[in-house]
């Protein structure tokens, strides 16, 4: 029972109030942890609402919270309407196939996927898939490389200049090069992945592998002397040393790097999608900007908020994974 309560520790103050246990203190606790952020949020919404009405752009006034809320409802409506269109499409297709089979029972029929354009939520999904793919590719390269250069100072001296040179390069600078390379190399008549997907994925990887690489190297090279002595005393083989001592000890540093990388990957993805035309959130923002309708700014704000919220969720996800994987459960994780 107590473990259950511990896991849901935000409920504790409420339960204590009902129990009658120091209600005043509990109330202060609730106000501090929930009330203050809420007041902060409301104050921000108020300032935004007033400020927005005073900014006049050629596309109408800057969208305030009310318009953004309205546009988010419109986006949900559009999504439902598109799903209905999809149903109708499949019905028509089935009718056509049935007719074909009637005429010739041996005819080959195909079930094709819906041809309509992706809705806002489809685009969110595409963005998430692309960022995870790019992030995983970056991590798979960065973590082993980081471990190697952290353990070997010669290797570190050799590779460090390259890291410092390529780290600051913006994704928008990589994009034309990546596009050209992908166009030239990834040629096939029936590709499994769209070229725009590969281009976005590679750009995300190129930009997000640096924090993981550097943090892994730092974490690995900073292992406490005691642990290294243990390894030498037990005369552990190189691989066992890495798996049993190095990796567990450097988890906090690695995860710091991974969290930074994921944040950067998500930011880079939006920019990369705008130019590579991968059908995700970046393309949504770009298309809305090109549309220039009076709803466009409101919709772009919805996308901005969605991007921020998803970035927050991704970060929290990394935190949960870190808690699971870390050996030191008592370390404070923010």
């Amino acid at each position: 029972m107590s473990t259950l309560l511990l896991k849901m520790n935000w409920l504790t103050p409420f339960i204590q109030i009902i129990k009658g246990d120091r209600p005043g203190d509990q109330l202060m606790l609730i106000l501090k942890h929930a009330g203050v952020p809420l007041i902060g949020l409301l104050a921000f919404l108020f300032v935004w609402h007033i400020g927005a009405q005073n900014i006049n752009t050629s596309l109408g006034t800057f969208p305030g919270p009310a318009q953004v809320y309205q546009q988010s409802l419109t986006l949900i409506e559009e999504h439902t309407a598109e799903r209905q269109k999809e149903e109708a499409f499949y019905q028509r297709q089935d009718a056509r196939n049935a007719k074909k089979l009637e005429k010739n029972p041996d005819a080959t029929i195909k079930i094709r996927p819906y041809t309509g354009s992706p809705t806002f939520f489809d685009q969110i999904l595409t963005s998430l898939i692309t960022v995870m793919a790019g992030f995983i590719l970056a991590s798979v390269i960065a973590i082993p490389l980081g471990i190697m250069i952290g353990l070997n100072s010669t290797l570190y001296s050799a590779i460090n200049p390259l890291i410092q040179l390529f780290k600051p390069v913006s994704p928008l600078a990589w994009l034309p090069l990546v596009t050209m390379v992908v166009s030239a190399v990834y040629t096939s008549d029936d590709p499994m992945f769209a070229k725009s997907f590969i281009t976005s994925l590679l750009t995300v990887s190129l930009c997000s592998l640096w924090p993981t690489l550097i943090n892994t190297a730092v974490g690995v090279s900073g292992i406490s002397k005691d642990l290294q002595n243990v390894s030498q005393v037990l005369r552990l083989g190189w691989l066992t040393h890495v798996i049993k001592i190095v990796i567990p000890a450097s988890i906090p540093a690695v995860f710091t790097g991974l969290r930074l990388s994921l944040g950067i990957a998500w930011m880079v993805l939006i920019a990369a999608e705008m130019l590579a035309q991968n059908p995700g959130l970046g393309k949504f923002v770009w298309d809305e900007f090109q549309n220039g309708s009076s709803d466009s700014l409101g919709r772009i704000m919805v996308a901005v908020l969605a991007i921020g919220f998803i970035g927050f969720l991704l970060d929290r996800l990394m935190l949960v994974i870190q808690r699971k994987v870390s050996w030191d459960k008592s370390s404070a994780l923010r």
Partner: protein
């Protein structure tokens, strides 16, 4: 993961549901007259197609062919995707990411002769006539206004010639300020129309010298023309980077609505019923998938007819479709003006221009050789074709790129199916691909497609005969 893979997975998931629906709709299927008789053209070789477009109102035939099910009637499953700009669109058609696209009439020609990326692009369908206008910033309009003659009501007399812009350009030149204007692509109709209009008023729009490596088009120019993608033009005008632009709708009406510019002339007034966009595919794609290509043309002919049907009665519905964010996306009111036959010049000065967008009337969909040759002559006029070419060269290129033979087969199939009438089309037995010599140009010069070199001689500004830079 590509959208197709994702959708295939979802497709398999709902297979059970669909099989159940199939039994339900099988009975109704017999009553549905879905597919048109496919006797004349064989089954399509490729059924899943992806077409690109730019956010302009004249992509309407593609949108209508999709939304009204004309593509599906031909057994084609088409996805329409907006592209970032004309260059990306052309590159993606060339490297096969797109099966075909909404293209500027000059793009297949420019690509085939090697100006810009070289590729053999062909077209068998002209998407529309007219549809562009030239807009200037509020500042420039105020400076032009005193020079323009007014009618009895005090409104400017139309068409407004570039002669009235000339004093403004001279003033900027005297002050040492470059007079920048925008157009959408070096081989775009907008580029040639803007240059034609400027040159008719005595303003030099600059030359290209690709043989010397200069493809900026600004040699010896009074007005400097540069490329901007259409949806970004109002923003660039507002920012003051350019003083005017030539672009298709809705970007001219957008400028009026947002109060950042004034359209001064439409291309209908520069050249009445000029060819504007075409549906372009790579020649290899057309060779590999001939039936598919003809079916695409069939669907688009039906869409074009629908757009002009009953004296433009369907246009409001078309505008509603176009204002969806995945097509053109601009507000309904902004698109409605030009599509329903009126055009707002200065704010409050709305005039009737019933043929601002023509999709089917006047044989708008037929790919005339004379249209192709006009673009080639203008490419020569401004130096994109650096040397003199004989008349036969123009004819050969036009025959290579414009394919009225494919159009004729598609049209014949529609007639055989009973969907359209022979009177909707030119007489294919006698049609040679040349319009009658055209006289409605803003400077009064007559264009005869059979004599391109003689045509070029009539211009005061521009390369002619064997002049090179």
């Amino acid at each position: 993961m590509s959208k197709n893979t994702l959708n295939t997975l979802i497709g398999r998931r709902s297979l059970i549901r669909k099989t159940l629906m199939t039994f339900g709709t099988a009975a109704a299927a017999g009553l549905l007259n879905l597919s048109v008789a496919q006797a004349s053209i064989g089954e399509p070789e490729k059924e899943d197609l992806k077409f690109g477009f730019i956010k302009l109102t004249d992509m309407a035939p593609l949108a209508i062919a999709y939304e009204k099910g004309f593509f599906e009637d031909e057994g084609l499953y088409v996805t329409l995707e907006a592209q970032a700009n004309w260059k990306v669109l052309l590159d993606r058609v060339i490297d096969g990411q797109l099966d075909g696209a909404h293209m500027l009439a000059g793009q297949p020609l420019g690509a085939t002769i090697g100006f810009g990326t070289q590729a053999h692009i062909i077209t068998a369908f002209s998407m529309d006539l007219n549809g562009n206008a030239i807009t200037v910033s509020n500042e420039i309009w105020e400076q032009m206004k005193p020079h323009i003659p007014k009618d009895a009501d005090g409104k400017p007399v139309h068409p407004i010639k570039a002669d009235y812009l000339k004093p403004v350009v001279e003033k900027y030149k005297a002050e040492g300020k470059p007079f920048n204007m925008g157009m959408v692509f070096p081989v775009s109709t907008h580029n040639y129309e803007l240059r034609y209009w400027l040159a008719a008023g005595g303003i030099k729009p600059g030359y290209y010298a690709p043989h010397k490596g200069d493809t900026s088009g600004k040699l010896d120019a009074d007005a400097l023309l540069s490329v901007t993608p259409p949806p970004q033009m109002p923003a660039t005008l507002e920012a003051g980077t350019i003083y005017g632009y030539c672009v298709g709708e809705p970007w001219n009406q957008q400028a009026v609505f947002k109060g950042i510019g004034v359209p001064v002339v439409t291309d209908y007034e520069i050249w009445k019923n000029n060819p504007e966009k075409v549906f372009g595919v790579s020649s290899k794609w057309a060779e590999d998938y001939p039936n598919t290509h003809k079916r695409v043309v069939k669907a688009m002919i039906r869409a074009a007819k629908w757009l002009d049907e009953n004296n433009n009665a369907n246009r409001p519905e078309a505008v509603k479709i176009l204002s969806q964010p995945n097509y053109v996306g601009a507000d309904y009111e902004v698109i409605a003006n030009s599509m329903t036959g009126s055009f707002e010049y200065e704010k409050g000065d709305k005039r009737d221009v019933p043929d601002f967008n023509v999709f089917f009337r006047y044989n708008a969909t037929y790919p005339y050789y004379s249209d192709a040759i006009w673009y080639l002559t203008q490419m020569r006029r401004w130096g994109q074709i650096p040397d003199q070419k004989p008349d036969s060269w123009y004819m050969d290129i036009a025959k290579k790129v414009y394919r009225p033979d494919i159009y004729a087969e598609a049209a014949q199939s529609l007639i055989d199916d009973g969907v359209m009438d022979a009177s909707d089309f030119p007489d294919f037995a006698t049609e040679e691909g040349f319009r009658e010599p055209q006289t409605h140009f803003i400077d009064g010069i007559t264009y005869d497609g059979r004599q391109p070199n003689d045509y070029l001689k009539q211009f005061k500004i521009g390369l002619k005969n064997d002049e090179t830079l």
